[in-house]
Symmetry: none
DNA sequence: TATGAATGAGCTTTCATTCAT
DNA sequence: TATGAATGAAAGCTCATTCAT
């Protein structure tokens, strides 16, 4: 019997393999959402079997959880230093706010796939039995709190302002994606935030 | 044996039936998105067969199209009068802008399921082969245009302002859904729009 | 494209199809038991798709239930007349007992597959979460009651006698199956029952 | 990071481990039969990997064979002394028969799981391609022979009597299991055997 | 205006097994 | 003495769809 193109059954280091899978999973998930994507297709894209995927993550849901865990770690690593470069305290001057938020937007603008991933999961996850429901609920409350503290010395309504900032981030990113990124996301952000945090007269 | 316990076999008027199906479809779609929902389950929820659904809409995609058509008509009916009550021209004073936008938000706040429907479809539809891709692309460009014209006499950067308005609408609605509607969406809107369209000094 | 042996998609009457499936299911189940048999293979043996089977019975468990229902009806039809030919009252003379039991054994001897079906399901079903647990529990209690009433005028310990009769039926049938039916089941039965219900001296 | 929470990693003696696995296997097999049980689940219950199980027994079938071997040895050890306490010859008086059989039943009554194991395997194994087919065929012929010799001086039809004894053992045990062991198996046995081996008048 | 039978493709998951470590 | 990665096959089941009635 001819050995017709049986893949070399490449044996990989555990962490490497997991990471490779999760990277591909981001693409798949960001295209179809949790309900729409299939680990079958993911496996194909990764060059291994469905059973191979499940060997690493146990179940479709397990895969999602692992993915969110990883993203959380990465985001934490990237955002925390921004929030408090030297003394790790939440910033409070208008300038530091602007710098921080701008940095966040600039970073996001470089990974549109992640934006799309979060956009779709976050939206799916408003219904309570979605496996990422708690994740996004918790995360967005935390973000809201950080933003609120960040602007607490600058505006009379810190929570509402925090909501507006969060809304604008998500909303502008969405438009940016829909319009195939033809406009300058960071420039648009600057325009927006300047109205929410107006310069001291 | 007599056919005693067959369901009422509601032989319905065609249009009524279609509408009933679409109403149920909104719930299903808003929970799982286009990829995640199934016409099988929809049929069950409607009390008819999968083939019955298909009889009316031809295919899953046909159902979505029909649904978007219907929503478009309804939205048009509701929004157009708001935009130009007496002379159907786009308004331009700050007050009329605020009134219009407030009315939109107030209306949305009364139909959270529709909000969720649009939120999820809009997000799924950023990828070009989604059946609602064109719909949302077109619609959001149109909305952006309307908003831009609406504020063209009030701000120096009408398109950016339009973007910010659109972003805030979507973003605040999303927070509102995620937090189980515990805050006052319209009040939050008033706070937000007052920063985007500041009162003349 | 060549139409390579696509089966004619034979469209059958509902009840006929169900019966055909159930008949095949008996063979499959009697060979492997509920856990061991697969509706996949059953479908193949029936010349239709797995989905086709499930269209009729909903699930593997549904199929088993339907099968047991059918068997119950058939057995009732066959056994009841035996138990009380003319007046439908439970018999009580030794002769009528012997006649009845002999008829049961003779009937069983003609359908070894059914014997094997019951043997395996009955055994699997001693564990409470088996889908046929209740069925066999109920059925055997009923049978025990019938036997007990049947012999109540003939022996001092009717329930124990009933147990012995039931045990002998099942046990001898099992030996008969294992030994490829090389001995005469009915003759062996006669020998056995004559010790349990000895002739009046 | 220190490898803090790794399980005790019980590096076990080979024979001990095999025995431990087989003990768990009895539970699993007695619940689902050979076709229904899975070495995956067995592994989980044993606290080791599927590959771990396979390391010891080679294959699922190998495991079953090993299990039957072990049981055979244990049963032999327990039953042989009963059959011929002092001179290892088959007993022949009615009293010694009764004693022996009673001892067997008493022993069985103490290990219901084993009863269930044999019940299900024995039943599955009537079909010739079952891996335990030969085992049970051989074993039951042997048992039948022993019983026949045992009663050869007491009854006119020793083989039939042997069949009846074997049938009653299995049948009463089955009822006992199904009825959650609420009746006294040994007492019921005494009643049954007294009819098969009636006291000399 | 719908249903009912049936399908092909796909889903998530489990299974027994192999092989290198 | 075991594990860990990986697989091919199969499991039960759901999906969207077709077609005759």
């Amino acid at each position: 019997m001819l050995d017709v193109e049986t893949a070399p059954r490449s044996r990989m280091n555990k962490d490497l393999r997991r990471e490779a899978i999760l990277t591909e999973a981001i693409r798949a998930l960001s295209e179809k959402g949790y309900h729409g994507f299939s680990i079958n297709e993911l496996a194909r894209r990764c060059g291994l079997t469905t059973a191979g995927i499940l060997h690493h993550f146990g179940s479709k849901q397990g895969l999602l959880i692992a993915l969110l865990d990883m993203r959380d770690r990465l985001d934490q690593q990237a955002i925390l230093p921004l929030l408090a470069p030297e003394d790790r305290r939440v910033p409070s001057t208008r300038d530091s706010c602007l710098t921080t938020l701008r940095a966040i937007m600039a970073r996001n603008a470089e990974q549109p796939e992640i934006i799309r991933l979060y956009a779709i999961l976050r939206t799916e996850a408003v219904v309570p039995d979605h496996p990422a429901f708690t994740f996004f609920r918790t995360r967005e409350m935390a973000v809201l709190n950080v933003f609120r503290d960040m602007v607490s010395d600058l505006v009379p309504d810190p929570l509402s302002t925090a909501r507006q900032i969060l809304a604008l981030i998500g909303g502008l990113e969405m438009q940016w994606l829909r319009e195939s990124r033809i406009f300058d996301l960071v420039a648009e952000w600057d325009s927006a935030i300047s109205k929410i945090l107006p310069p001291p007269s």
